[in-house]
């Protein structure tokens, strides 16, 4: 709907006749002589491919860190994306996207995109100079080579990357680092590690049923999860389950949008989920509602667990701890045990506590003792990586020979499927990504000199932001690969423009549903943007130019070929396709592996569900899913910093379309708490704690309990708001076993606030 008035000449321009008449005049007058243009060149008039309605359609996949990972159909005309839509073939997303997916055009064609490699004269000064890719890679390579000579290894180079872009070929960043030698890696994840470890101790792996089978459930407990905001496409299955007679219970410290859609909502005392689950387990035990056959056949250690319940746990104790009245606990426990099948969806926010892993184990135990594990419509749903069995060809690269590295065990991230390298004792130096600031500051011999940031926005997402600013100051060089000028690029020396999902070949799977989507390159990368593997190839070429043999990453690559190299027979069999080309006419669904533990063969050492896990004890935790106390408050009010529906971590919220619906951040306070501090709705308030402070607008609501305040993590375009000023880097209990580092207690933070 542009405001071009259709002048007559414009119509004339549309019709080919005028163009032909014009061309005829051109040749006749022989004007192809010296053209004064210095930039434009004589054009060759071959017509592009034109499809029905003039659109070429491409298949893309939203690569964000989201349960739904939607398949996308992209409509391109004249090399410009005109329209995006959900892929209709997927029964999970059913042709729909979400508020963020529908805003993709504003990301792709925003004038604010980072266009060229640029270098900052003085970090944080805001003075940038444009440089060519060659110059940028030369500066970077010279720095890497200098570090290698000074330290004798590449350990001075650190990489921090996580879930900004889950396209599988983006593991080429890890591959680039491996090809440079043994480097320092920020390993682990702030997202879900404690829950992964818990489910590994209980069942041998994190594996959930196909969410589409939730319609078969007769009882659904949504425990600390908010699908109405973070998995909008799952809500229709929850509604369908209710349609068929299921009861929906939501347990969450905050009255979320999901809670408003449940039949019954329990406003639990934050981080006391373990106590509540154990209380329900004790009641089920007393009422003799345990599924004894299933337990004896499929589990070990139940008797010890029952002993623990009888001696240590009572419903009254659970009620006092969780704040939920005892008669409620007993009634729902009985309903849950009686319903067949019943399921519990365990959210990621729920395990971001110092006792997160233990809480997940006690909820798993609740599902197991009622025989709901391995049953369609049942299960302790958390997440899965069944559909991630790619080759990781981009990630697996060999270090240059003679590369020296770190002597000692190397932790592996949860997405690192490579077997443990049996080669020389050298390994990468792995630091805990959840303590990035502290680790970067404390690392010695060699200290971390250079930081490479890709698929991550540390200054919006990492914890103890003031300490992280100090850590950045210590770096001799910071290279950031990103699409927009966010708070991390602000502190970068060199920024490299990276492609959007429409400009690179890759493939995407989900950790929740069982669909697989290809991501075709729909348009040429705008300006001088390159995808992560193209950057790796270019860097390798420059490194070997300056110092032959210093980087083993292939120098020239074809990104489409590299995408195809990720596929293997396992993937083809799982999805019933013979080549990735089959994904060009729509996402495909996995044909098997969709019923977690359906065959009763668990991945635990005993091959059974382990109420009592020796492995867990070995790793320093309780063998039984015992109650672990929550963190002692270090300030007056609990501070919750969950996710907003308008963004995904720090992406999308800066787009002008999104600002129409989500213009500014708020801190949500209970009216009583606000009145005690004479704060009115809409007042500017200062939220402070030992870590830092945030200036923000107050919004009064009883959705939050009186002893807690809540603000959403987000990056607004020109707004210094950052909730990470308040979140310290205290670890969660579990997470090191499967994710390489313990999780982080994001919601175990406390603060106080005062009228600004």
């Amino acid at each position: 709907m542009t405001q071009w008035k259709k002048t007559d000449i414009e119509q004339a321009m549309d019709c080919p006749m005028t163009r032909r008449r014009f061309m005829k005049w051109m040749t006749a007058a022989g004007v192809t002589a010296a053209m004064p243009c210095g930039f434009l060149v004589p054009g060759k008039a071959e017509a592009g491919i034109v499809y029905e309605g003039g659109y070429e359609t491409f298949r893309n996949a939203c690569p964000r860190n989201c349960y739904d990972t939607c398949g996308v159909v992209t409509y391109v005309k004249d090399g410009v994306i005109k329209f995006v839509e959900g892929a209709p073939e997927s029964t999970f997303t059913r042709g729909g996207l979400c508020v963020k997916g529908n805003a993709y055009l504003r990301k792709q064609y925003s004038p604010d995109r980072i266009k060229y490699p640029m270098v900052q004269q003085g970090r944080g000064s805001g003075n940038w100079k444009r440089i060519s890719w060659d110059e940028a890679l030369t500066r970077i390579s010279e720095k890497f080579i200098e570090m290698n000579e000074k330290d004798g290894s590449m350990l001075g180079l650190a990489m921090t990357k996580y879930s900004g872009n889950f396209g599988i070929t983006n593991y080429g960043v890890e591959g680039m680092f491996s090809s440079l030698g043994y480097t320092t890696r920020m390993v682990g994840t702030p997202c879900w590690p404690a829950g992964i470890d818990a489910q590994n101790y209980d069942m041998g792996n994190m594996w959930c049923n196909d969410p589409e089978d939730m319609v078969k459930a007769r009882y659904v407990i949504l425990w600390g999860v908010n699908p109405a905001w973070c998995s909008v496409h799952t809500m229709k299955y929850i509604y369908e389950a209710r349609q068929r007679g299921a009861k929906i219970v939501c347990i969450d410290p905050v009255l979320t949008q999901t809670a408003a859609k449940a039949d019954e909502y329990w406003q639990i005392n934050t981080s006391e989920d373990g106590a509540l689950a154990l209380g329900m387990a004790r009641h089920i035990l007393d009422k003799g509602l345990v599924d004894q056959d299933w337990v004896t056949q499929n589990a070990v250690g139940f008797d010890e667990f029952a002993g623990y319940l009888r001696s240590e746990v009572t419903v009254e104790w659970a009620s006092k701890k969780s704040g939920i009245p005892a008669e409620r606990i007993t009634r729902v426990a009985e309903e849950f045990a009686a319903a067949d099948p019943a399921t519990i969806w365990i959210g990621y926010g729920m395990q971001r506590h110092v006792n997160g892993g233990a809480s997940v184990r006690s909820i798993d135990a609740l599902v197991a003792m009622t025989g709901n594990v391995g049953k369609p419509g049942g299960g302790a749903r958390y997440g899965h990586l069944q559909t991630w069995g790619f080759n990781y060809h981009a990630m697996v690269q060999q270090p240059p020979e003679g590369a020296k590295g770190y002597l000692g065990p190397a932790a592996k991230g949860e997405f690192d499927f490579t077997e443990d390298s049996k080669g020389p004792a050298y390994a990468n130096r792995t630091l805990n990504i959840n303590k990035t600031a502290r680790e970067l500051l404390d690392a010695t011999d060699p200290p971390v000199r250079a930081l490479w940031v890709s698929c991550k926005n540390p200054l919006s997402q990492d914890f103890d932001r003031n300490l992280l600013i100090e850590a950045f100051k210590k770096m001799e060089m910071v290279v950031v690969v990103d699409q927009f000028f966010n708070q991390t690029v602000e502190q970068a020396d060199i920024v490299l423009p990276v492609t959007t999902l429409f400009e690179e070949w890759t493939v995407n799977a989900s950790y929740w549903h069982y669909w697989l989507s290809i991501n075709e390159q729909a348009v040429k990368p705008l300006y001088e943007a390159k995808s992560n593997i193209e950057i790796a190839a270019a860097l390798s070429k420059k490194m070997n130019e300056l110092k032959p043999g210093s980087c083993t990453f292939p120098a020239d690559i074809d990104t489409k070929e590299w995408m195809a190299k990720e596929f293997n027979k396992g993937v083809y069999d799982l999805f019933g396709i013979d080549s990735w080309e089959a994904l060009k006419n729509g996402p495909k669904k996995a044909r098997t592996n969709r019923l977690a533990w359906g065959d009763g063969k668990f991945g635990t050492p005993s091959g059974k569900y382990e109420f009592k896990s020796e492995l867990c004890a070995e790793h320093g935790f309780n063998a039984l899913p015992e109650y672990v106390a929550s963190r002692k408050p270090y300030d007056k009010l609990r501070l919750l910093t969950p996710h907003t529906k308008f963004g995904l971590h720090s992406q999308f919220i800066n787009l002008d379309w999104m600002e129409d619906f989500n213009p500014r951040p708020y801190v949500y306070i209970h009216p009583d708490t606000a009145r005690a501090r004479s704060i009115a709705d809409g007042d500017r308030v200062r939220v402070k704690n030992k870590t830092g402070e945030v200036l923000i607008t107050a919004s009064l609501t009883d959705n939050v309990p009186p002893d807690a305040i809540m603000m959403y993590e987000a990056w607004f375009k020109n707004n210094p708001y950052n909730c990470q000023n308040l979140v310290d880097d205290t670890s969660a209990d579990m997470g090191a076993y499967k994710a390489g580092a313990p999780g982080v207690a994001i919601h175990d933070q406390f603060a106080d606030l005062v009228k600004a």
Partner: protein, 189 residues
């Protein structure tokens, strides 16, 4: 009763995710600030939990539309075959009378074109047998296309609380009211 298309706003299924509002922007690229479909949170007097229940509303394609009646230059017409109220933007002189007179704020002012514009029920898509983009994009089927002449109105209400009662206009929209969860609050605070 003649065929009259309208929107079914199922506030019980609606999760206030704004996908419909953004799908409309993705389809028509309106100017910044010009919003054809807006997702209105219900105030606490109507739904006790703040910003936890919504009405997704665009144009209600009324039976007796205020915009059409007050427009001095007849820039609106109501299609006979399905009762959709369509705005012919090239006739519009930007007097703002429709914007002032529509109780539901459907016509919006386009500051660049200096004209009014509003939701057209994606009538081009309706003519092709497709559904409007907002309806198609909703992940929980909380907006539907209904034909008032054949609609079974059980469980539906025309003037939901929070939606201005205008019987003279007779808006072609029906609501299903949001449910209330049984809330169990902590007692030990």
């Amino acid at each position: 009763m003649k065929k009259q298309l309208g929107f079914l706003v199922d506030a019980d299924r609606c999760i206030g995710c704004f996908t419909c509002a953004m799908a409309c922007k993705n389809q028509y690229h309106q100017e910044n600030g010009v919003i054809w479909r807006q997702v209105y949170p219900l105030k606490e007097e109507i739904y006790p939990h703040k910003e936890r229940a919504f009405y997704s509303l665009a144009c209600n394609h009324c039976e007796n539309p205020a915009c059409m009646n007050v427009c001095p230059v007849k820039a609106y017409y109501k299609r006979d075959e399905d009762g959709l109220v369509i705005h012919e933007q090239d006739k519009c002189i930007g007097c703002g009378n429709c914007i002032r007179s529509c109780p539901y704020g459907a016509p919006q002012y386009n500051p660049v074109l200096k004209k009014a514009e509003k939701c057209s029920f994606c009538h081009q898509r309706i003519d092709e047998g497709l559904t409007p983009m907002c309806v198609l994009s909703c992940p929980v089927d909380a907006i539907g296309v209904i034909d008032l002449s054949t609609l079974d109105t059980t469980g539906l209400v025309q003037y939901a609380p929070g939606f201005s009662r205008q019987p003279v206009l007779n808006p072609s929209v029906r609501f299903r009211l949001p449910r209330l969860p049984e809330v169990v609050r902590r007692k030990n605070i």
